[in-house]
């Protein structure tokens, strides 16, 4: 990217991260409203307040890389470049959805982008990403696989198994923990007796803590971690400390959280911080607002297209249980 006159390089790096975060934020704010209005069925888990991790990690990825994510995975897939229209159509249960309306929010996937799915099972994406890392290693793609997981998954056995296996096989696996302090409705302090740093150290795996609300810090950490992975140095853990602003799911009244904590989370908002940093670095306010407006237009168009799209075909759905359509 060309550096503009009088603009420090940091702003040039931050602006695209801001754009990605803005996209994720506005998509999820739109989803929140669509859900409240009854236009999104089922349940959705929003990552509002955690967008810096999605944007920062995605900025370090290359075309051949892959990822598996969680039930709170909208940001990760959008930052990776998932089509916004196909995303909305999926979550609104339409035929043109990326998964033809069969998966919804918890299963958005785009294999052409190496997105091996969000996942409805806590921790389940970790060993799937590990398997993708095996494929990178066997096929010598030069790629890395990213396993996104929340702090709630730290108590899942597959994380411990995966750390062991990734270390044994020196896999190009980046384990990105979004530690937002909450395992569903319980504080992580009541859920997990260890520390992720100590767990990684137990397996001899490199560990980097990072401020998960600072997009540039995440991008730098992810870039350095993925460079090490590509060099064959074995797996790495990136623990991104962040805050979950919304409930576990939309509609969760969060009676278990106190106002002070929610206020503190709001004050650390990664978008507000990025915006302040951009302004401080000399980016014009109207340049930022132009991004916001462009993102809004994109989202409005995607929602309009989703509303206009037809409902999914049941015959096509049942025919896709198997590749060759066999049934019992």
């Amino acid at each position: 990217m060309p550096t503009r006159k009088n603009t420090p390089p940091a702003a040039d790096r931050l602006l695209p991260l801001y754009r990605t975060m803005r996209l994720v934020r506005q998509v999820e704010q739109a989803l929140s409203k669509l859900f409240a209005d009854g236009e999104v069925p089922g349940f959705i888990h929003l990552s509002i307040g955690q967008e810096a991790i999605a944007a920062g990690v995605a900025s370090a990825l290359q075309a051949q890389d892959s990822l598996a994510t969680t039930h709170r995975g909208h940001g990760h897939v959008l930052a990776r470049g998932m089509a916004v229209e196909g995303f909305f159509k999926e979550i609104m249960g339409r035929d043109g959805g990326l998964c033809r309306g069969r998966g919804g929010s918890m299963h958005v996937a785009d294999l052409s982008l190496g997105i091996l799915g969000a996942n409805g099972i806590v921790g389940a994406g970790i060993p799937i990403a590990l398997g993708s890392a095996v494929a990178h290693q066997v096929r010598q793609t030069g790629g890395v696989a990213v396993a996104y997981f929340g702090d709630g998954a730290m108590a899942e056995g597959v994380l411990h198994e995966a750390l062991n296996l990734a270390a044994l096989w020196r896999l190009p696996l980046l384990l990105v923990c979004e530690n937002n302090g909450w395992s569903e409705f319980s504080p992580t302090s009541r859920q997990f007796a260890a520390k992720l740093q100590a767990l990684a150290a137990a397996f001899g795996i490199g560990y980097d803590p990072v401020d998960g609300n600072d997009a540039l810090a995440v991008a730098d950490a992810a870039l350095s971690a993925t460079a090490a992975l590509r060099a064959g140095d074995g797996p790495r853990v990136l623990e991104c400390v962040t805050h979950r602003v919304r409930g576990h799911f939309e509609g969760d009244p969060q009676k278990y959280r106190d106002a002070d904590e929610l206020q503190a989370a709001a004050e650390r908002d990664p978008l507000a911080r990025a915006r302040a940093a951009l302004l401080h670095a000399g980016t014009k306010a109207d340049a930022i607002e132009r991004i916001d407006a462009e993102v809004a237009v994109r989202i409005d168009a995607a929602i309009a297209a989703a509303r206009a799209d037809k409902l999914p075909s049941f015959a096509a759905a049942i025919a896709d249980v198997y590749t060759r359509g066999v049934a019992a």
């Binding site: 892959s66 598996a68 999926e90 959805g97 990326l98 998964c99 033809r100 309306g101 069969r102 998966g103 299963h107 996937a109 785009d110 294999l111 052409s112 190496g114 091996l116 799915g117 996942n119 409805g120 099972i121 389940a124 970790i126 060993p127 799937i128 990403a129 590990l130 398997g131 993708s132 890392a133 095996v134 494929a135 990178h136 290693q137 066997v138 096929r139 696989a145 056995g157 597959v158 198994e161 995966a162 062991n164 296996l165 044994l168 096989w169 096509a316 759905a317 896709d320 249980v321 198997y322 590749t323 060759r324 066999v326 049934a327 019992a328």
Partner: protein, 325 residues
């Protein structure tokens, strides 16, 4: 191509060898499959032939091994995972049921999960309650999985080649008690998943089975033949999908059927088959449909107890006579 006499376990190893040789994307994962050559020696020599990138010893982490196979399958490989005893699939059920089985469907038909999970089921070795179970009905109940159960060395070879070539997840159920059994194997014979085979034709009664109890049915048929009863024996070979057409056509000839399997009877494969025959073959029936399968209890350890637990030819003959009376 001519047939070679080999043991069932050698046929499995030959199919793995030939698949590894034919397709660079095939990789093997499992506990003690590489250096040790497998607990039952089904992977003997493959590490030496294909190297540690493609033939991998894993730690004892069934959940992660099978989930990793899903991720690898979604990323361009064709993993073949060995789970040492079928009883241990309990530890990998999320990977099979929530991930492998559903990925193609829930991602809207993008790609598929071409993985094979090989695992031996079955008793007869006094291996006890946690090393003897036949759990295939659980997996046959899950949309998206295929379940194949070869009963002889030729099928062990041909169906394993077909399973590895299949674009969808296949559970390939071997039988510990069959591993040493010998038979001719022609590596030029291809098999299609979902096709049953009539292993003995007969006009009086149809016995439907799969896996090790196919031999039990043949033994029963031989005894009944001495009394002038001509029994048709069908080896399903695959229980998901299963070959309704062959079984219904047989029922239309014999008008009597008994389903035989080693697994527990309640809520089992036999229940599904009998229900289908009752639905679709009702007009053909001259006698109640019967099942011969294990009682509703865990597989016991003591040889005497296990013998009493197991389905044998006597039980099949008794059911056949009841059907014919």
């Amino acid at each position: 191509m001519s047939a070679t006499e080999m043991r069932y376990v050698q046929a499995v190893a030959q199919a793995l060898h030939d698949s590894l040789q034919a397709d660079d994307s095939v990789v093997l994962l499992g506990e003690d499959i590489a250096h040790a050559g497998g607990s039952f020696k089904a992977t003997r020599g493959l590490l030496e032939s294909f190297g540690p990138q493609r033939v991998r010893d894993t730690p004892i982490s069934e959940a992660t091994i099978v989930s990793a196979a899903v991720g690898a399958a979604l990323s361009g490989l064709k993993p073949v995972v060995e789970i040492m005893f079928m009883d241990f699939v309990t530890l990998a059920m999320d990977a099979l049921v929530n991930q492998a089985a559903k990925a193609r469907f829930m991602f809207g038909g993008q790609g598929s999960v071409p993985l094979v999970l090989r695992t031996p089921h079955g008793g007869g070795l006094s291996a006890g309650p946690q090393h003897s179970q036949c759990l295939e009905a659980w997996l046959a109940h899950v949309p998206g999985l295929k379940v194949v159960v070869p009963s002889d060395p030729q099928d062990a070879y041909s169906l394993l080649r077909a399973a590895i070539a299949d674009p969808d997840p296949v559970i390939f159920v071997e039988h510990k008690g069959l591993y040493a059994r010998k038979g001719p194997v022609d590596t030029g014979i291809a098999a299609a998943i979902g096709q049953a085979r009539i292993v003995r034709p007969g006009r009086d009664l149809t016995l439907v089975s799969y896996g090790a109890t196919v031999a039990t049915c043949l033994q029963a048929a031989q005894t009944l033949a001495a009394d002038g009863v001509e029994v048709e024996v069908i080896d399903l070979r695959s229980i998901q999908p299963w070959d309704r057409a062959t079984v219904l056509a047989s029922l239309a000839r014999t008008h009597r059927a008994v389903v035989v399997h080693e697994a527990v009877q309640a809520f089992g494969v036999g229940a599904e088959i009998v229900a289908t025959l009752a639905d679709e073959g009702f007009d053909e029936l001259d006698a109640p449909l019967l099942r011969v399968a294990a009682p509703f209890m865990p597989v016991p350890f003591a040889t005497s107890l296990e013998r009493a637990y197991a389905v044998d030819a006597e039980a099949v003959i008794a059911a056949a006579r009841k059907t014919l009376s």
